[in-house]
């Protein structure tokens, strides 16, 4: 997802309304339900628009190629087969998967850690000219479509002798993740009561300890949100691997999908099986961290 973003954060909201309670929302929600039947109708229509392609992917990936051409495309197969998935695995899926995991974890963990430290510095010591400038720089990064820097990036990676390595994907991914991560994390660190910092300082803790033992645990929801969000972005990145790698041994999943499409051609069930396999891990992550991701994102952008 190219969220080259600019947070022009929003609402002048009352602090009490930041994390609304169930009760408050209940009555507001009910009012809005009656208020806007148009929203209800569009929601149901949209539900089907979203779900039909997804449903189609799932049932088709379980059909044989000949069955696919004969049957109604929206009817699930009578005799589901896993052959398509086997075919995808026989075409080095595992290798591409491992590459994707290495790149995703290898860039998101450092990106979130360095962003957290920077966000902490900006909030706790933000009057300094240096930190104000750093913060300004990151905010500008949100307004600029960073993908447009791909050509100089390509040159830089060649000069660093990193072309066609996984590190060539990891290093720029860290940089691209920093602006939004700092912004979201800073918004949450700002909410940690100053008295907590003061009382721990009085007890003799230094900033390093405050950072990891106070701010880190207290901003954990935001950290989880931004980690999942960055994992999604890096996992789905297409342009960086397309330009910065060339050998199949360094291929990540989105790029592999593109080549599968050329390779499997009109074997639609196999193509869709490969789509499904690339989505499954991220779907698992979504199921585990859905609340965190959705509530965190919506709070992070509207704070």
């Amino acid at each position: 997802v190219s969220t080259a973003t600019l947070d022009l954060s929003t609402e002048p909201s009352e602090p009490a309304d930041h994390r609304p309670s169930q009760g408050v929302q209940g009555s507001l929600g009910r009012r809005l339900l009656h208020l806007n039947w148009a929203a209800g109708l569009s929601s149901w229509i949209w539900f089907f628009i979203v779900m039909i392609p997804i449903y189609w992917i799932v049932i088709t990936s379980l059909k044989t190629q000949s069955n696919y051409f004969q049957s109604n495309p929206l009817v699930p197969p009578g005799h589901p087969t896993l052959d398509n998935f086997r075919l995808v695995f026989d075409n080095d899926f595992t290798g591409y998967f491992v590459n994707s995991v290495i790149v995703a974890v290898g860039s998101v963990v450092p990106a979130v850690l360095v962003s957290f430290m920077a966000a902490y510095a900006v909030i706790r010591d933000g009057n300094r000219f240096f930190l104000r400038s750093v913060n300004w720089l990151f905010l500008m990064g949100l307004a600029i479509p960073l993908q447009a820097t791909i050509i100089p990036l390509y040159l830089l990676i060649i000069k660093l002798k990193l072309y066609d390595t996984l590190l060539a994907l990891i290093l720029p991914s860290i940089a691209f993740a920093i602006p939004l991560s700092v912004l979201v994390l800073a918004n949450f660190i700002r909410d940690v009561p100053k008295e907590l910092f003061e009382s721990m300082r009085v007890d003799g803790a230094n900033e390093w300890a405050l950072l990891w033992r106070l701010a880190f645990p207290l901003t954990r929801p935001a950290l989880v949100t931004i980690t999942i969000y960055n994992l999604l972005t890096v996992w789905n990145n297409f342009l960086l691997p397309l330009v910065l790698t060339t050998s199949p041994g360094k291929r990540t999943l989105p790029l592999a999908l593109w080549t599968f499409q050329g390779q499997f051609g009109v074997n639609v069930p196999a193509v869709l099986a490969s789509v499904l396999l690339t989505v499954l891990p991220i779907l698992a992550l979504y199921i585990l961290g859905r609340r965190q991701l959705l509530s965190g994102l919506s709070a992070g952008f509207t704070k």
């Binding site: 929003t10 806007n36 569009s42 963990v109 930190l131 800073a186 869709l272």
Partner: protein, 309 residues
């Protein structure tokens, strides 16, 4: 990587003794992030400007060539076309996504169970890569092997990606399919922050529900609309992977947007100088649009962000 994740403490600037009352500087904590960002984002950004004044084929030596690349790009009839395509995708997808996202956002801001159930599914497109979405829709819309052919519906079995006007419409639809969930999420968050007392006051004044929506909900969402629109507009400049996999810019350049033009000039025609000039145009358009939208918002949010820091 781990070495980078743990900043060396000795990078901390010495604190002058005279500042004993002030806390020690925390600037060193921002250094690792700054370092990454400068090397892999700021340097390449400056590089775009520099490379646009050179000739480079992507492999050999880089030569300074003054305004040659710029002249070639600005006199190429492909540029106004790519600008037009980019503009169309931007405006049409904004027009489709914004009302839809507001409606859905308002709807899922409620707490009923089934809304939660619906919203679980709403966000699935958010999880898919543009490549996966493009591969899926390419198969789904195939006139011979797709959904339309299987259902024997001639309307759905059109050659969607083979006709220029249809293909552009398909791109706009898929972009909306992919990003509406994200924007409705932003609106959901904003709707939940509208103080309940405003609705109560309006009810006391006898305002109907439609009236409440248009005179409370919508105005309260103004700033969110600015945020969301900025994301849509700046984001739409860089739809590359979706179009690349779906149509590769075709048919006959009908979906050849600026970002795609940049890639083709650079990595297919090996004209890195010209591609960099196009990239710079992209960056400038993004910045100008972001600033314009902020003007409409009426407040310098970057400034207030810093103030709050």
């Amino acid at each position: 990587m781990t070495a980078v994740a743990q900043p060396a403490r000795q990078t901390a600037p010495a604190t002058p003794a005279s500042h004993r009352k002030r806390q020690r500087s925390l600037s060193w904590l921002a250094l690792p992030a700054l370092l990454f960002f400068v090397i892999f984002a700021v340097v390449p950004l400056v590089g775009v400007l520099a490379l646009s004044f050179t000739s480079w084929d992507g492999l050999g030596a880089i030569h300074f060539s003054g305004l040659v690349s710029w002249r070639a790009v600005l006199s190429d009839p492909g540029l106004p076309h790519a600008l037009w395509v980019t503009f169309l995708i931007m405006v049409l997808s904004w027009l489709f996504q914004t009302p839809m996202s507001i409606l859905l956002g308002v709807f899922i801001a409620g707490q009923q169970r089934y809304r939660g159930f619906l919203s679980v599914f709403f966000f699935i497109p958010l999880l898919l890569s543009s490549a996966a979405i493009a591969v899926t829709y390419k198969a789904l819309l195939d006139p011979n092997f797709g959904l339309g052919a299987g259902l024997h519906t001639s309307w759905l079995a059109q050659d969607w990606l083979g006709n220029g006007k249809l293909a552009l419409g398909v791109v706009v639809f898929i972009v909306s399919w992919q990003f509406i969930p994200f924007h409705s999420l932003i609106y959901q968050g904003a709707v939940r922050q509208i103080p309940r007392s405003m609705y109560e006051a309006a009810q006391l004044d006898g305002a109907g529900r439609m009236r409440q929506f248009f005179s409370i909900t919508l105005p309260q969402l103004k700033n969110t609309m600015i945020t969301s629109s900025t994301l849509m507009v700046v984001g739409s400049l860089t739809f590359f992977d979706l179009i690349f996999v779906l149509t590769a810019g075709g048919p006959a350049d009908a979906t050849r947007s600026l970002a795609l033009d940049m890639y083709r000039q650079g990595f297919q025609a090996n004209l890195m100088g010209q591609a960099s000039a196009i990239a710079l145009i992209l960056v400038l358009i993004g910045l100008i649009l972001a600033l314009l939208l902020r003007r409409i918002g009426g407040r310098d949010r970057t400034g207030s962000q810093l103030e709050g820091a």
